[in-house]
């Protein structure tokens, strides 16, 4: 009787889903901000003399926003790729230093806001001069609030933003040559053409 086959059929359905699931990363969160306007912000940059930066200044150009920090090991791994990418292609990369001051930076805990900003600036600049600077400029998000607006949940993360200021792609984790070649570069070329 056919009804005795039902458990077997249901079971194989389950196995198929489990097999598909094995190829997925349960922790990877796709961004709902893709194809949405990049949230506005106004943050100080690494250069104390320059004023605050806001993404509206990049209107009319296709650009990358790279979230990084000096304490982030994966950032150091992807950094040479970004330096190379910036040199090779005419794509401006804006850095966002995310939560540079960490709980273990005890000397910075008692400082006021300006002193903290200065501390972060100095450490970031030292790091960049050591490992290369792919950024046209780098903003500083000390408390991570702007990061939350962008749906940042870890470092590093990279966004591709088009001429109208709409986010078109988000890479979570360090960029690899494969990602740059197959996803980022073609997308930038397409966006530049339009």
């Amino acid at each position: 009787m056919k009804k005795f086959l039902i458990p077997l059929v249901l079971f194989f359905g389950l196995v198929i889903f489990l097999a598909l699931g094995l190829q997925r990363d349960p922790q990877a969160i796709p961004s709902p901000l893709v194809d949405k306007p990049a949230p506005a912000f106004s943050l100080p940059t690494l250069d104390p003399a320059a004023g605050a930066f806001s993404p509206a200044e990049m209107q009319g150009r296709v650009w990358l926003l790279n979230v990084w920090a000096t304490w982030c090991v994966a950032c150091r791994k992807e950094h040479p790729l970004l330096v190379d990418f910036a040199q090779r292609h005419q794509v401006p990369i804006v850095g966002m230093s995310y939560k540079e001051i960490q709980p273990q930076d005890v000397q910075a805990q008692g400082m006021d806001a300006n002193a903290k900003l200065q501390f972060a600036r100095e450490r970031s600049q030292v790091w960049l001069s050591r490992y290369g600077n792919p950024y046209v400029l780098s903003v500083i998000d000390l408390d991570g609030r702007v990061g939350i607006q962008y749906g940042v949940y870890g470092v590093p993360e990279t966004y591709v933003i088009d001429k109208q200021g709409v986010i078109r792609y988000k890479a979570v984790g360090e960029v690899t040559p494969a990602i740059l070649a197959s996803k980022v570069l073609p997308l930038i070329q397409k966006l530049n053409a339009s």
Binding site: M1, P7, L8, F12, V15, L18, L22, P26, P30
Partner: protein
């Protein structure tokens, strides 16, 4: 040397398991008695070898042999000896070895305590268990070898995760695995019966005690895990609907349905198809649980470190074992004759309703657990399914189950009358209603949820009490199984009362305390007497000295700690609990607070009825134990049934 010895023993065990899985089954099919007789010695030999291997790994841990990679990852020279032994199953490889040890133990037990069974049956059961052993041993040797060497040897180990350095680790996994693996025996009995083409009442009779024992270990294991999370994690939660927890709950739910369905199949020859399906499902869910926990498809705090290759192997093993079983089921079952008709109100119907509710509850838990995976696999996005879903779906399913528990023990087989049932139970219903309405008012603020929960618990307790009193008055012997049943049912009711009480009436205070400050939760007061520094074998801690007073009189001293283990950066909270009959007082120490005077953040909880949850679980375990030792199982006579099933019996009687 020891590690190599352990490794070699495991290889030999695999070879023995291969023999165990093939020759006796062939012998049962072709009626070769000598090959059937190989089952028992093979089972004993496999157990001896796996035990030897396990002992070797334990010795590596106790001797701090950090040239063994697994030891270096999970142990440390400062780790107390008792935790060095428990660390054997603190990681993936070792816990799998524990799994295999349990399987070998159960197989040997079946081989040892089955002298009243026909030899062909034993051969088949042990043979099927052999197949499972082969799969797991192959998995361990190929992909999860705990005896891998680390050369050059580490100077010291990475230490056992501080959360695991607790008596809970010593007992929870072994008990849980005894349950998980124990359902393989019911599975093997079902498969053996399908292979033989004979599904008579005898098969159900044999299967019952083994299944009940597996069930009680599972109950104990889950309860222990819950209790451990409660006192270890620092905020008094005890169930999170985490995928790994669900992985243990699902076989338990089906296992509970199984022991009830086996009863009908044993006593009345009914529901064979359903009972066989449940037997297959319970163990399949155990295997599925193993997959979910070790493959990395789901995120969980409990999950072991994962490797995609492992996931593929387990999935293939799962597909083969369960696929084969369900195919055999679909092939054989149509030939088995069905039982007789029953009326709408009968014990058979209520037992079926019990099965339906438990299986639907299990399906709901399964659905919630794998739904994120399914949606992701279909590229439809990423979502989370958390406790809110499970509570919303599971609790309503448990309500009718609790309600039918009482009439289930009252109605007769085959046919019963509504009027008789109502007549007998009306005072129980009224009294339970009275308790349900009164209890919440006595315990605190009245709420309909609390009233309903207490009503259900009282309904089951009073119904069981009435049943026992009436049964006592009747002539005739009462077997242990009867007391076991009542004990287990009352245990569940106590758990329900405990959950209702704590959810409705717990109080939490999140405060900052300096020395001398007091937190009051009437009629209790908690006063911080002082702070001190404590040094443990492999940690340093800050300890608070909290005096507990009731109505102004000191009743206890609690010492919550915040520990810093040398091996990790994460601080660990050791909560302090004062347990009473009706409540727990739970104090958890937080971080120090900057300020003019030294202060610490503290969480103080008043948790009424929580001890009832653990007490109820123990009652259920006791009930299972009583049911398993009933005399009729111990003196089971050999069954040479010739009840027609439509298929000529194969193999020896």
């Amino acid at each position: 040397m020891l590690a190599e010895l352990g490794h070699f023993a495991l290889i030999l065990a695999l070879l023995v398991a291969c023999v165990q899985a093939t020759l006796p089954l062939w012998g049962a099919w072709r009626e070769i008695a000598a090959w059937q007789a190989l089952a028992r010695p093979a089972a004993f030999a496999q157990f001896g070898l796996v035990a030897l291997s396990f002992a070797a790994l334990t010795a590596c841990f106790v001797n701090n042999d950090f040239s063994v990679s697994y030891v270096a990852q999970h142990s440390n020279s400062l780790l107390p000896t008792v935790y060095r032994v428990a660390a054997v199953w603190g990681g993936h490889e070792g816990s799998l070895l524990l799994w295999v040890l349990m399987l070998a133990l159960w197989t040997a037990a079946v081989a040892a305590f089955s002298f009243s069974l026909p030899q062909a049956m034993v051969a088949r059961v042990v043979g099927v268990l052999g197949w499972v052993s082969v799969g797991f041993l192959l998995f361990i040797l190929a992909l999860s070898n705990p005896f891998e060497r680390l050369l050059p040897a580490a100077a010291d180990g990475r230490d056992l995760n501080p959360l695991l350095q607790d008596p809970g680790l010593i007992i929870h996994p072994p008990m849980l695995y005894m349950g998980y693996v124990g359902f393989s025996v019911a599975f093997a009995f079902a498969i053996a019966a399908l292979m033989a083409g004979r599904l008579d009442a005898a098969w159900a009779r044999w299967s019952r005690p083994w299944t009940v024992v597996a069930w009680l270990f599972m109950t104990f294991g889950i309860g222990l895990g819950s209790w451990w999370a409660y006192y270890e994690l620092g905020w008094g939660g005890w169930w999170f609907w985490d995928p790994v927890e669900n992985a243990s709950l699902m076989p338990w739910l089906v296992g509970t349905a199984l022991i009830h369905s086996l009863m009908a199949s044993d006593k009345r020859g009914n529901f064979k198809a359903w009972t066989v399906l449940l037997s297959i499902s319970a163990f399949s869910l155990s295997l599925l649980g193993t997959f979910l926990v070790r493959s990395g498809v789901l995120t969980s705090v409990h999950a072991f470190a994962t490797d995609p290759k492992r996931g593929v192997f387990i999935l293939m093993f799962l597909a083969v074992v369960v696929g084969f079983s369900l195919t055999l089921y679909a092939w054989r079952m149509p030939k088995v004759r069905m039982g007789q008709a029953v009326s709408l109100l009968s014990r058979e119907t209520l037992l079926l309703a019990n099965s339906v509710l438990l299986v639907v509850a299990c399906a709901a838990v399964l659905l919630g657990t794998i739904y994120p995976l399914v949606i992701d696999a279909l590229n439809l996005g990423k979502l989370s399914v958390g406790p809110q879903y499970f509570n919303a779906v599971f609790v309503p399913l448990m309500v009718p189950l609790l309600v039918i528990m009482v009439p289930g023990t009252v109605v007769r087989w085959r046919e019963s009358q509504w009027s008789e049932l109502l007549l007998r139970l009306r005072w129980v219903a009224l009294a339970a209603l009275g308790v349900g309405l009164a209890a919440p008012a006595l315990a605190g603020e009245w709420s309909i949820g609390a009233a309903f929960g207490f009503f259900l618990a009282a309904w089951v307790v009073l119904g069981s009490v009435q049943h026992m009193v009436l049964r006592w008055r009747q002539p005739g012997q009462i077997g242990a199984a009867y007391w076991g049943m009542q004990c287990a049912h009352i245990g569940l009711a106590v758990v329900v009362a405990g959950i209702t009480g704590v959810k409705s009436y717990e109080v939490e205070r999140d405060v900052r305390m300096g020395v001398g400050d007091v937190v009051t939760i009437e009629p209790y007061a908690f006063r911080l007497q002082g702070m001190s520094e404590v040094k443990g074998p492999n940690y340093r801690a800050v300890r608070a000295d909290v005096e507990v007073l009731k109505n102004g009189q000191p009743i206890d001293r609690l010492y919550p700690e915040k520990r810093r283990y040398f091996s990790t950066a994460m601080p660990m909270t050791e909560a302090a609990i004062d347990t009473g009959f009706m409540r727990d007082l739970y104090v958890s120490l937080g971080d120090p607070i900057d300020g003019p005077t030294p202060q610490w953040s503290m969480r103080v909880y008043y948790k009424p009825f929580v001890p009832w949850i653990w007490a109820g679980v123990l009652l259920m375990v006791l009930g299972g134990g009583l049911a398993a030792v009933d005399r009729r199982y111990r003196a089971a006579s050999p069954r040479t049934e010739t009840m027609p099933t439509g298929v000529a019996p194969q193999g020896g009687a």
